[in-house]
Each structure stands twice: as C-alpha cells, then as structure tokens.
Amino acid sequence: MAGSTLTQSLPPRVQRRQGQLSSFIQHSALYGILLLGALISLFPFYWMVNTSLKPSYMIFTYPPTMLPAEPSLNAYRYVWETMDVPRSLLNSIVVSGVGVAINVFFSSWVGYALAKLHFPLKRVLFFLVLALMILPQQILMIPLFLQVNRLGLIDTFAGVILPYAITPFTIYLCRQAFLTFPDDYVDAAVIDGAHHFQILLRIAYPIAKPMLLTAVVINFYWSWNAFLWPFLVIRSDEMTTLPIALSRYHAFADQRWDAIMAAATVVALPILLLYLAVQRQFVDALTMTGLKG
C-alpha cells in the first residue's frame, strides 16, 4: 500500500516491472504458505508410514530418523500375524455397505413422501426430522444400548446398523433433492397411471442422482469411520470393524509403535483409496454437510 504513491510517480515501464515484481512476491507467498500448510497436513501421514517401516529396535532411538534408515516390512508382517485384518475389513464392508444401502433406500421413501405427497401429520414428521438432526447423541447412549441389549443384538451387525439405519440427515437430503423438480412431473405420471414406486424409480431417482450420490458418499464415510456406537456394541474380536480393531490393537501391541503405525496405515488405506477414486464426490459431500444449516 505504501508503494502505491511511489509507483504513480515512476515512468510506466518501471511501474510495470514493479507490478510484476510485487505480483511475483505475492504469488510466491501464496504458494509458499499453501505448500507449508500442505506439508503440515501431510506430515502425520508421513510419520505414520515412516514409523511403520522402521525395524522395531529403532523405534525409540533419539533423535528419530526422519527417513527410514533401514526400511523393513517386519511391522506389517507382525500385524498380519497378530491382527485379523481381512476379517475386520470384511466386517467394515458389510456394516457400511448394508447400512448405507438401507439408509439411502428407506430415507428416499420418506424424503419422497415429505417432498411430493399429501398426507396428515406431514409437517409434524418433517419437524421431527429437523429436530432429530440436531439432537445430541449423548442423551440416547445408555437407553439405546439397553434397548439393543433387550433385543439381543449386542455383538451383532444388526446391533451396529439398525439404531442408525435411517438417519434424519439422509431423509432431509433426499427431501431437498426431490423438491428440486416440480410436482407436476408427479401429477402427470399419476394421471398416466404410474404408481408412486415407479415414479420414484423412473423420475425421482434419475433427477436426484447427484444428491443421492452425495448421500451415499457421506453416509458411507460416516459409517466407515464410526467409532463410539460400534465400540459399545461390538464385543468379540471376530465382529470388529476396522476402527474398533485398530483401537484394540493399540492396546494389544502396547508400545510397539512400528506395529501400531503399520496397523494404522492398513486401516487408513481403504478409505484413502476410495477418496482418491471419488475425490469430487467426497469434497462435495463434506461441503454439503456444511451448507445444510
């Protein structure tokens, strides 16, 4: 700012050069700060992998080696022998896959009813959806656990999935998606003799596809990374999802940080790969959760 009076009195060519210089500095600063931020964001990931590649006797050596001096896959071998990774991966896939399918399938029904149909108590139900979206889960923790216990669902997939099978947020997303096309489409189809399930399948789903995809991604992400509820419901090692398995491994492999970091890397990998594959949808989905309010 202080330079602006100065530049005005200088000949044009010098002005331009100075403008280029200051924009060069601004540019460098911009990229410099962003790169630094990127480094900070990535460093814990790097440290996780770096530690996992160290031989176990080098874990506590000080100063720590910033690059793996003698990289070894021993930690991974140890994790493979002591932690049932495929089983947990399978459990995670089942819990998240089935959970998301149920959620989006039935939520879209409710969303459709709330967006396009007329029926008594519709406003009450919609109010309930909104209210439940902001209800903190703490209040349900104990009673929900007792309820699942009473139904005999402790340590089962159903116990993990069902209490959060149809979520108000997904209903809300679906309703918003179905509101984007006019009621006339529905009316016209009804006049042509179409059933509402046909309308849902042939008209509503295709139109709302991007939003439904967002719902799938965000729910999968939540369900895949969920900790508290599965942590309470899952008892046996055979039933653990990846995050629960890792938390148990953390206690089991006490202080063997090479192995713990190897396990952490393995647990982080599937969702990271998925993220790389559908990065756009992930960013959209995460942003969406920010814009709903």
Binding site: M1, L30, I33, G37, A38, S41, P44, I59, F60, Y62, F106, V110, Y112, A113, L117, H118, F119, P120, L125, L132, I134, L135, P136, Q137, Q138, I139, L140, M141, I142, P143, L144, F145, L146, Q147, L151, I166, T180, P182, D183, D184, D187, I191, N225, F227, L228, P243, S247, M261, V267, A268, I271, L272, Y275, Q279, F282, V283, L286, G290, L291, G293
Partner: protein, 314 residues
Amino acid sequence: MMQATGTEITQVGGLSKRLGSVRTRRRGKWDRIAILLVTPWLLQLVFFTLYPLYIALYGSVAEWDILKDTMTYIGFDNYIKLFSDAEFFKALRNSFVYILIQVPASLTGGFFVALLLNSSSLRGRAFFRGIYILPVIVPVVVMAIVWQWMYATNSGVINYLLSFLGIGQVPWLTSERFSMPSIALMKVWNDVGLYAMFFLAGLQGLSKDVLDAAEVDGVNKWQMIRHIKLPLLNPVVVFSVVMGTLWGLNIFTEPLLMTEGGPRGSSLTTLLYLYREGFIWSRLGYANAIGVASTLIILVLTFVQRRLLERSSW
C-alpha cells in the same frame, strides 16, 4: 421455499396449469401410499429413538436395577448428585477448554486457507484442497493414535522438531496442564481443511457484483475481507461455530485413546465420563443423567450461540 419453483412452472404453460389443478381438485383426499413409505422409518424411530428418548428422560429421575429390569421413581436425586459432582464439572470445564481453543483456531485457520484457495490466480486449487481435506477423511482412531505417538514426550517427533527452536521437552499428553489443549491442537490440524471447505463454498457463492462494486469504490484487500466478505459469510460462520461446539462437546475417541481422560482427569470429557460411569462402573441411571444433562447444556449453548451470532453485525 423451493416449492415456489414448482408453482412458478405451473403458471407458465397451459398444460401444466391444468395438471396443477388436478391436485387442487383432489384436495381433501390424501396419498395413502405415504403410510407405506414412512413406515420403515417410523418403526426405526419408535424402537431406536423415541422409546429410548422416553427411557432417557424418565430414567434420569429414576433408580435403575438392570438385573430386575425395573425403574423406580426417585425424583431429582440423580441431578442433585450430578450438580455436586466435582468430576462432572471438571469434565464440563475440560470440554469448554477444548471448545475455546479448537473452534476459534480451526475456524480462523479454515477461513484463511479458504481465502488463499479462492485467489483467482491460484493454479492447482483442487490439488491443495485435496490435501487439506485428507485429515478429515481417515478414521479418527487412526489420527488419534498417530498423534499420540508424535506427541510422545521423550521419543516423539514434535518435541524433536521443537528442539531446533530451542523449546524443551513439552509433556503434551502427560501433564494436566497440556493434555486437553494438546488434543484440541490435534483437532485444529484435523478440522482446518473441513472449515476451509465450508468457507470456500461460501466465498465462491458470493455475488460477483457486490465484490466488483466494492473494488470500484476503492476498498483495499483487508477492508474487503473484514467488511465485505466476512459479513456476507456470516451464515457459514454461525453454522461452523455451532457445529464446532456440538462436535467439541461430543469429543470421545481422542481422549479415550490418547490419554484415557488423564492425567488425573485433566482430559476427561462429558461423554467419556458418561461412558466410564455407565459401561465401566455400570451406574446406568447416573450415566444416563449425565447424558441428559449434557444434552441440555449443548442445546442451550448452541441456541444461545445461534442467537448471538446471527444478530451480531461484524
């Protein structure tokens, strides 16, 4: 609000107008199919939300016997006990320490990153955005454990890097003074990218006309941010503060894995306390009262925040 689009279109064409009137003629009748469509949700709602909610509220004024599966009304004993429970207030205090550090820091960081990512001359925006969001993508468990390892006092990499700045060994997770701020700091790292995403979406939605007009009026960069962009982004700020507070009061996994609430309860949170009372000590009635009380606190707090922030002119 969005239904307006529907009616507008109805008014445009003659055909659609006629179809629109079909609906009005059928007023009084309603779509029976709706019952079928909402039933699965209602079942789940009754079994896993409404009934448990009733149990939570009634249970907080009752004495529980799990073995006999009975509840007897005892009035407000649980709450009286709760409000004279130093441990509960410690947990509340810890949660507030966390929120006071984590929410402002990650919001400011996120806003700053969003401004940088929004610069028109920036190339590789998607690349940077992709990296900044990475910490949010992986399970919380992973990063809690990695940070616990990085925070290690004697062999941790953070203290090693700080030693170059002449900073001695900081007992990040092992001292009462630092344990909660350390967890908050880790979560700042975790959430900056997420808030940046919120703000970036907000910035990209700002009206070009307004920004251009301001520029023509000779507004400098700082004034632009402070007096134009920030006020226009107030909805995003309100949402982020409220969500950040909500998430902050629900913090559980990080203290459980990184410090187990210690040392000496210095990183105990309300949810961790609830878990401990209910699932370790099997004091279900009391744990439930903790849940109800902290839920009320969360609701009041976020309501007040919303009110204050929505009105405030920046």
